[in-house]
Symmetry: none
Subunit: 153 residues, 2 copies
Amino acid sequence: MQAENVDALTINEAAATTGWSARMLRYIESIGLVEPRRSGSGYRLYGPEELQRLSSLRELLDERGLDLGEVGFALRLKRDAPTREAIDSWLAAQPARPEHVSAADWLRFEQEKHQRLLAAAGERSSGSATPQLEDRSQGQSPTKSAIETTETA
Amino acid sequence: MQAENVDALTINEAAATTGWSARMLRYIESIGLVEPRRSGSGYRLYGPEELQRLSSLRELLDERGLDLGEVGFALRLKRDAPTREAIDSWLAAQPARPEHVSAADWLRFEQEKHQRLLAAAGERSSGSATPQLEDRSQGQSPTKSAIETTETA
DNA sequence: ACAACCTTGACACAGGCATGGTAAGGTCTG
DNA sequence: CAGACCTTACCATGCCTGTGTCAAGGTTGT
């Protein structure tokens, strides 16, 4: 059979044209990033799409500083909607507390949310933790609220 | 000074309520996933938002099987639009090429698309509202996340 | 003043990632 | 058929991650 590999390269040819080593091409396949089809006798056959993918994969790593695991993660994420949403929701809470919300209000809101967490987390540790840095003072310091990270300006 | 830490826990208290060890809280901070503010004397102060974030971070790892690097990657992705687009474009080529399109044609199309992306990425940096993940202000597509974007625009 | 807390820094260690190499054995082609 | 190519499987290496622990030294509340 010599016609099955039209438009496809074997592993060393693919390596030569994409800049990966044959070893790495096998590795990349093993982690699910590229899946070349196989010839009848088991040879890997890299078609244009695989070659394209491998080239841009290389750019991703070289120019963007990613690693294979990260790309693989993105790939998995693309397929796994629940995890994707979980991540999105985590990210949503992450860097930007809305600037226009007063820190105090926002904090109160968040605290409420967190209260449940604390309760759920259990107070089995209530005696041991010696919470001596608790909110014992409610005096309004003339400056601003306890959180100065937000300029609230 | 005892008023600066209103509504905030020190590291061991935070550890007790979030299920992480103090050691890990420092590590998590070192990789940029959570940034507690500091007291005047340098103590870490974990407010409700940090506690919330730490708790859901734990869920992400325990229930979703992620690791810190992956979450950190998602976070970086949220902030780095060019890389996000590069990944999106890579993913676009990934799972589903319409079976009826000749690989050669498809490759040509992808290359073209890639060209545009590169061009666009080059002259970005003056762009205004870099679209954030949760930035569904006028959402027209329901669940759009960092890695989902590329349905053949 | 003293215990209990906090800080940074370091050593350690298991496991995973990214690579290369090598060996034993099929496949293809001149 | 022989040589060049492919396959899988294993061993090795260097670096990174996640985690603990210990040390020397500030901070804090009673």
